[in-house]
């Protein structure tokens, strides 16, 4: 499994131009463990609009945005939309403690070795990537300031109808 991820990453790294911003590229596939012990792959969600949010418990704006992401997830999840929260911390302890206090209903995945963070060339904390039903990256947002959730919803709305 890990070799597959590495091989995919290597192929995409060679094929990928510096797409820091506008997308238009096939979203790199990955497989990670989720908080409830399941194995989750991006390919499972082909046909859905997928929002990938990279976060950490030590990151203030990440914690601030997560309840809002939860309400976005609840609003659109029955319309072929899925939100994946990718936690980038090497040790899951702090993330789990925070999730106990502030639970969310969307899947949380662990990326302890930063493989997916590197794949997606994460340049800020948090980073939000929205992928359309064909698996193309259509929206990348770095950081979080109150009000950014409106940008996320605009993007989701335009991709949901496709």
């Amino acid at each position: 499994m890990r070799n597959r991820i590495v091989a995919m990453a290597a192929m995409l790294a060679l094929a990928l131009p510096a797409w820091a911003g506008t997308g238009g590229v096939q979203a790199p596939g990955f497989t990670l463990q989720s908080v409830d012990g399941r194995t989750v792959s991006l390919t499972q969600f082909k046909g859905d609009v997928v929002m990938i949010n990279f976060w950490a418990s030590w990151c203030g704006p990440c914690r601030q945005e997560m309840p809002l992401l939860d309400s976005i997830y609840k609003q659109y999840k029955d319309m072929g939309f899925v939100l994946l929260g990718v936690n980038v911390e090497p040790d899951a302890h702090s993330a789990n403690a925070w999730l106990q206090k502030t639970p969310v209903s969307y899947p949380i995945l662990y990326d302890p070795k930063s493989q997916v963070s590197q794949l997606y060339q994460v340049q800020a904390m948090p980073t939000t990537v929205i992928v359309d039903r064909q698996g193309i990256v259509r929206f990348v947002h770095n950081g979080y300031l109150p009000g950014d959730e409106n940008q996320y919803m605009n993007s989701i709305r335009s991709l949901i109808v496709q």
Binding site: A18, A20, G21, T22, G60, Q123, A124, N142, G143, L145, P146, G147
Partner: protein, 383 residues
């Protein structure tokens, strides 16, 4: 290059300081001086781009120091300092400005400051440029009928300008380094209306005569410092800092500081520090001049003498929660103690000859040394 940059990532923001209130009680005791008082600091964000801060500070001074006992009499006075400031965050740039006003019976000082801070290079580097300008009004207190009031014949001014450049750099996942440079320029009355120099006078029973000090009207200073802060894997932080100072009065000073902070389980955090300071005397300083009007500039202020000092510090902080008040995110209570030990190299305790004329020859009095205790107790609330 320019075309590529246009299709780039939108500007990333820096971070404004957190909302917090600190209420501090401070107490300094040493060398016959006790200074105590409060310091209240409030920091608050307004919206996403602004933050304001305000500080109220007081020094309640009770002084029977060696300088006071030599040529004056013990006194009590209060200095009050108020400051306000604001910060504006735009993209990766933070602009700060503020104003400080300090008032005591014989000294009024106003300072305005401005700084620009820029995060760059993937937020690994922060460069800050700062400028501050101070205007001081200096008076002299005289006692008439047991009441202290300003001497109407004495009113002086002093101006200060400070330029600063700071660079902080994240070096590894566990290491931050900083480099600082500060250039200061003082102009005007830079002396003390109360302190005096002494010169050898065989005609005087004590062996010396006191005379007014004469200071230069200008002073330019350069300070360079660097620091490293390292995160230890078991969750602690070690900081090392060195500063080199030199000025146009001939003073050269070195400061070395080590700090270790260790969070413990169950809400406690401990902080220990050692600070070593070494200073060479100003060119116009002397504990005892050979005769009257020895040189154009003469001073006997121990702040300009050659000395070294070592300060040990220990701080304990306890994080507690206030269940009733849910809008308070975090609260801590901190107690801090510093022991400062100064050993002068060329400043003598002239009180020996003052209180026992003829017993000790002027210039043969014991070298003065000073031990001081500094206490701080404060509560911090984050909301």
């Amino acid at each position: 290059m320019a075309a590529l940059c246009l299709a780039a990532v939108p500007a990333l923001a820096g971070v404004l300081p957190e909302d917090r209130v600190d209420a501090l009680y401070h107490r300094y005791q040493g060398g016959g001086i006790t200074v105590q008082g409060p310091s209240i600091l409030v920091q608050k964000r307004i919206g996403d781009h602004f933050a304001v801060n305000a500080n109220y500070y007081q020094d309640m001074i009770s002084s029977a120091s060696i300088d006071v006992l030599l040529s004056a009499s013990p006194y009590k006075e209060t200095r009050t300092q108020k400051s306000v400031g604001a910060q504006y965050l735009h993209g990766k740039t933070t602009y700060s400005a503020g104003f400080i006003n300090s008032v005591e019976p014989d000294y009024k000082a106003n300072t305005a400051y401005y700084s620009v801070s820029q995060d760059m290079f993937g937020d690994l580097t922060t460069v800050t440029l700062s400028y501050s300008r101070g205007w001081d009004q200096i008076y002299r207190d005289i006692k008439s009928n047991g009441v202290l009031s300003n001497d109407p014949t004495f009113h002086q001014r002093a101006d200060h300008r400070v330029y600063g450049l700071s660079i902080s750099q994240i070096l590894t996942r566990n290491l931050v380094g900083t480099l600082n440079y500060q250039f200061s320029s003082d102009q005007g009355y830079l002396a003390s209306p109360y302190r005096e120099i002494r010169y050898i006078d065989p005609n005087n029973p004590v062996g010396y005569t006191l005379a007014p000090q004469i200071y230069p009207g200008t002073r330019t200073m350069d300070a360079f410092s660097g620091s490293l802060k390292y995160y230890l894997p078991y969750r602690a932080a070690l900081t090392g800092q060195y500063r080199f100072f030199t000025d146009s009065w001939g003073i050269v000073a070195h400061t070395l500081k080590l700090d270790y902070v260790q969070p413990l389980r169950h809400h406690w955090t401990l902080d220990g520090s050692i600070r070593y300071y070494r200073q060479g005397a100003a060119s116009f300083y002397s504990d005892l001049f050979p005769y009257a009007n020895y040189s154009n500039y003469m001073a006997r202020d121990r702040e300009l003498a050659a000395f070294h000092s070592i300060t040990f510090g220990l701080e304990a902080s306890y994080a507690f929660s206030i269940p009733r008040l849910t809008w308070i995110q975090k609260s801590t209570a901190t107690l801090s103690f510093d022991r400062m030990m100064i050993t002068y190299l060329d400043y003598r305790d002239a009180l020996y000859s003052k209180f026992d004329p003829g017993a000790i020859k002027a210039g043969a009095e014991p070298i003065y040394s000073l031990d001081a205790n500094v206490y701080q107790a404060y509560v911090s609330l984050w909301f």
